[in-house]
Amino acid sequence: MRPLLLLAGLALALLPLWLLEGFHLFQLTQAVIMALAVLGLNIVTGYNGQISLGHGAFFAVGAYATAIPMSLLDWSFWATLPVSALICGAVGWGVGFPALRLGGLYLALTTFALAVAVPQILKHKAVEAWTGGVQGLFLLKPEAPEWLKLNPDQYMYLVALLVAGVCYLLTANLLRGRIGRAMMAVRDNPTAAEAMGMDLASIKTRTFAVSAIITGMAGSLSAAVVEFVAPDSFTFILSISLFVGMVVGGVGSILGSVFGGLFVLFVPNLAEAVSRSAPGVIYGAILILFLFVLPDGVAGLVRRLTTKKRVIPGREPS
């Protein structure tokens, strides 16, 4: 059943290559990227129970880690990915380490401060030679090999799908295994986890680093697809969008991250269509509505609709 579902999903994901073109395919590429970014956030918040409001910062680090070598040193896109992963992991570890010593809200506020400070840091004179300051950096997207016979938009969609797909598979495996269970144990009952011999601080910081790497990969992709990075693309609004996407898609759900990515990309446009003057009001209202009515997000709704209710006598149906 599982491999079949995966294959069907893959076919569904490949269809737009021929069905959509131009701007719509570009948008869908960005939705794939956002889904990857939301997945990164979901690892640390959904599976490890630590609230981050600053994942836009790791997105930015990933984007610059790809843009700087590509634009200034003429590296190929693929060569920048491992470098970007290393840098994002290091930054994630560095930010997580102090904040994880304390409970959820401290981490939320520290990461929030990080998200607010990032554009300022990127614009600063000391790093301007590398980041291009306010002007940002231009780069060229990787070109499709001859034999694929794809136009640039199609190729970028394929690249994004490939990178995101690999990250999703790796994450799913990680979460299913021993380490994933440890992450969830730390989330659900830290005292018991510690009593079982788990090193809380070490699991938390490592989870944070992994999560930063995944979101950083999304940033790398985004830099290549948009062919441009600038500090003002990475304001705290980006971090908040990722958070909202995660909540709406489904906290602690891999499938939910996909819905989250679609939400992050398409709902702001819808909100703007409903009310041109205050899209944020609608965005915020959707967030609060979901928290009140559907705290498991879209993925929770899907799960509820697709699983048959089994009533065990004397127990609530789950």
């Binding site: 401060a113 607010v116 400070a117 958070f243 899209p279 944020g280 965005y283 915020g284 928290l291 705290p295």
Partner: protein, 290 residues
């Protein structure tokens, strides 16, 4: 040397603003163990309400106190309508609601009152600077107002039975309920008070930084840094921390990093405190046993 003294005093004046927002944060933290991310936006909304009243022709102080009342009601309503239904939900839900409120309030403020930067009047008019050019009348006046608020809050919590009831409700809700304190209303009261204190901070800072829908974002971070520095569970520590952060920020901005990295200073202070002394300078060290 004069330059230094001026920076120091300007730092104390802005520190007063941070101190009052930090106090509002700590009050909500003490009552509910939450940090309200939308505190700054609520204060900005209050300041816009005050500006509307002043422009409608009300005298400054009438508008000031009317804004306090309106802010109090808004804060209490937010607790009743938005926080009450999710009070037993996980922290993530609370943070989500705060973020939702932040989005709604900041957008609605921009929508209703416009996104342009506005000047906000100060009640402390004077020609030039006082005390040999060291301090402006507004800096002096706003510091005095902040200190007055802090003293009033202290008196309220330490010397009235309502303040005692609120502390009891926060410290041990179950026992408080058993002796007849209406814990739910105490929470609403705490939110209302915090909103009112935040509105004072907004009205005092607006003449200095000008009023726009995002005015309080940076201030909230500094206030949080102040609250952490002083100890998040200690109101007077938060106040001292707020003043210290104000001075640090001004001196660092003038002599070390320049104005472009001012927000990064807040981040550095937050991380620094968490690494070196997570309980803050005056906070209680909490041990948890496994």
């Amino acid at each position: 040397m004069d330059g230094f003294a001026h920076q120091l005093i300007a730092g104390i004046a802005t520190g007063g603003i941070y101190a009052s927002v930090a106090l509002a944060l700590v009050m909500i933290y003490q009552a509910t163990h939450h940090v309200n991310f939308a505190q700054g936006e609520m204060a900005t909304l209050s300041t816009f309400i005050a500006l509307t009243m002043i422009q409608a022709g009300l005298p400054y102080w009438v508008a000031f106190f009317a804004t306090l009342v309106v802010s109090f009601v808004i804060g209490a309503l937010v607790e009743r309508i938005l926080m009450r239904p999710v009070q037993n939900a996980p922290v993530l839900t609370h943070v989500g609601v705060f973020i939702g409120m932040l989005l709604i309030i900041s957008n609605a403020t921009g929508w209703i009152f416009g996104h342009t930067t506005k000047a906000f009047p100060t009640p402390f008019q004077s020609d030039g600077l006082l005390f040999g050019g060291l301090v402006s009348a507004h800096e002096l006046g706003s510091t005095a107002v902040t200190l007055a608020v802090l003293i009033l809050v202290y008196l309220f919590f330490a010397h009235t039975s309502l303040g005692l009831a609120m502390r009891a409700a926060a410290y041990n809700p179950r026992s408080a309920r058993l002796v007849g304190i209406r814990v739910g209303w105490m929470l609403a009261l705490g939110w209302g008070l915090a909103a009112a204190i935040g509105s004072v901070a907004g009205m005092m800072v607006a003449p200095a930084v000008f009023l726009d829908p995002n005015m309080m974002l940076g201030i909230l971070l500094y206030a949080f840094a102040g609250a952490l520095l002083g100890g998040i569970d200690n109101p007077s520590g938060a106040v001292i921390g707020g003043f210290m952060v104000g001075v640090l920020e001004n001196l660092a901005g003038a002599y070390v990093v320049g104005t472009e990295l001012k927000l990064t200073v807040a981040l550095v202070i937050i991380i620094g405190v968490l690494v070196v002394r997570p309980s803050g300078l005056f906070g209680r060290v909490v041990f948890s046993r496994v």
